[in-house]
Amino acid sequence: MIEVNQLNKTFRDKKILTNISVSFESGKTNLIIGASGTGKSVLLKCIVGLIKPETGKILYNNREFLSADNETLKTIRREMGMLFQGGALFDFKTVHENVMFPLHMLSDMSKTEKMDRVNFCLKRVGLEQASNLYPSQISGGMQKRVGIARAIVMNPRYLFCDEPNSGLDPLTAIKIDDLIQEITHEYNTTTIIVTHDMNSVVSIGENIAFVHQGEIVWKGNKDNILQTQSTPLQEFMFANKLIRDSIKK
């Protein structure tokens, strides 16, 4: 479980996050949703430690993250796996080497164990045939799946996904969503997904936090989101006229 308490972040006098307090449960897909520029990616980067907030607390299973000593910080970081918006695969490494990278750097496994683990993860995301290709030789959807394989290769307790569906066709996007949800349930990870894709919201949103102008204005899940009375959330969800009209009908 990850708990965020009273998080505040300002960039050059502009308040980006205001008093964010939210908890993300383990074994569930936790979604942070909101329009572009509302601060949801900044929130995720604060949670994983890429951006330092001015005030607030972040607890990883009751371990304080922001003021942790180096050893605790290292331990928590090594329990994290992250899928980046663009995949963030290393261009100079093959798919196999990309997935191997965290093991190579952080694990004490034998060479055979590492190979087995990489092959297992690639098989889990359905990419065992692409292991010798470079990121530039595979499609965007495949890159995302390699990113997922790399994120889960260390058996993370916490999985973070920044816009996992961006730039993908609807069918591939659904496949990626399903894969993330399956992994979350299978390994009981605390998964946080930042997205603005409504398909993801209604299909895998087991725990949803809606960010609007740097604040969390609504919390719920996919079952009660459509009945929301929050005007900013309604505007976000029903921005598409076609969907708005069909819901009204």
Binding site: N70, F84, Q85
Partner: protein, 242 residues
Amino acid sequence: MNSLGKYCLFIISLFRQREKFKVYISLIIDECILIGVDSVYVVAIVSTFIGAVSAIQTAYNLTSPLVPLSTVGNIVRDFTILENAPTFTCLVLAGKVGSSIAGGLGTMRITEQIDAIEVMGINSSSYLVLPKLVAAILVFPMLVTVSGFLSIAGGYAATVYSGVLTHYDFVTGLRDSFVVFNVFFALIKAVVFSFLITSISSYQGYYTQGGALEVGKSSTNAVTNSCIAILAADYIIAKLLL
């Protein structure tokens, strides 16, 4: 001042919370090939031609019958060892290696590859930059040595084969009042310049923010700042050691 402070903190960060030593070995070898072996060609061309031109121009200016022709070899030797091999070679390498380092790291930054390394709990600056720094410190003196030999060879070829000087004149000039310390001086300069080029370029690339345009700007800044730093350090080292 702000940038200088940030640069110093960046250099310190390279040595804090490093990974296991064995991780760096293969990376250093790769960087030695990338920085060193891949630069031999351009260094060879530049050094040979500058050596040749300096020899011809020196001979052209020595019109007095009171000055022996062997002076050309002497001047070419000292110019090569003191300035051409270390400084000119490093200025060329600032362009080739510096832009490549800044561009590579800048691209890794904007495509979140550096963030990916950080999230794993790895010191990204140390993992990415330290091998480049060590490799450059190892291979730059070798490149400068190669440059020195080729520059003198270029000077010899240009003057002797064109009939401006005889073999005897040139070699006599080369051997006359040779100071061994000058070679060490050149190698010290090579080490200092290699540190400056790699660290400044890495700093520029590592802190790139934005998109492709900013990566280009980082590369340009890396080359410009490296060249300025080389010239300033060149003056300081000469003042201190000669």
